[in-house]
């Protein structure tokens, strides 16, 4: 279960709100389940329906993770109008099977919903995500 502290969670929500109405994206570095760094990165597409992490920013972040001995444990993006569940595009373009894919829905901007998934070979499996001081999201959809 991926674990975020309150500051990391709030940084992700703030990034998603700042980029609204476009999708926001970020990389999460850590060890095991613990997130240690959040890299809020530019969406090169600047689009409400699509994101591509700006390639040079992606390389810089991944190089720093390597240098720090951290792994890419999570890939975050926001959905501005749809639920926090991988879209067909998300599944088709998921190229990092070892990372959790975190999606924050801002469909209700006052009540963001964060969920996490493993996407491997076109298969989507929800994983619990724990924000410190909150209930983990359920591992299954209600």
């Amino acid at each position: 279960m991926l674990e975020l502290d309150q500051d990391q969670y709030e940084a992700l929500v703030a990034h998603a709100r700042a980029e609204y109405p476009n999708e926001a994206c970020a990389l999460l570095a850590g060890r095991g389940d613990a997130v240690e760094r959040v890299y809020a990165l530019p969406n090169a597409e600047a689009s409400p329906t699509f994101y591509v992490v700006e390639p040079k920013a992606q390389l810089r972040a991944m190089t720093e993770m390597d240098d720090l001995g951290l792994d890419l444990v999570g890939i975050f993006h926001s959905h501005v109008a749809t639920e926090a569940y991988p879209s067909r595009t998300d599944v088709e373009l998921a190229a990092y099977p070892d990372a959790a894919y975190l999606i924050l829905s801002l469909a209700d901007r006052d009540a963001p919903v964060l969920r996490a998934f493993r996407i491997r070979d076109g298969q989507v499996d929800e994983e619990p995500v724990q924000v410190a001081g909150r209930q983990p999201t359920p591992s299954r959809r209600p």
Binding site: P48, T49, F50, L59, I75, L93
Partner: protein, 108 residues
């Protein structure tokens, strides 16, 4: 030109698990062709059917995105370091009809 190529996790099945390998070429196109001769199958992950670089594959020469260096025609020198990374991409869609990774649009 002998160039170090950094291989992302998702492609290491082609390189026997190696994180970095050496290949030769005067341009990125030649280098990636040589890489595919040494590690068969790897090019299928990098190129479109028409031979252009896949939209959702990032290739860097000395930390610069090759899209700004002439794409596959980017020149290489001895000692250059080439890195390959799958793009981090996706999106909520919403009436776009869905984006397919193949055949993608080449941004050149």
């Amino acid at each position: 030109m002998a160039v170090e190529v950094r291989i992302p996790t998702i492609l290491r099945k082609h390189t026997g698990g190696a994180k970095a390998v050496t290949a030769e070429g005067d341009t990125v196109r030649d280098l990636l062709g040589d890489l595919d001769r040494r590690y068969p199958g790897i090019a299928g992950q990098l190129f479109n059917a028409d031979g252009s670089l896949h939209r959702f594959v990032n290739v860097y020469v000395n930390d610069e995105d090759v899209r700004f260096l002439g794409a596959l025609d980017a020149k290489l020198d001895d000692g250059d370091v080439v890195a390959i990374l799958p793009a981090v991409a996706g999106g909520g869609g919403g009436g776009s009809g869905g984006l397919k990774p193949s055949p993608p649009v080449d941004r050149g």
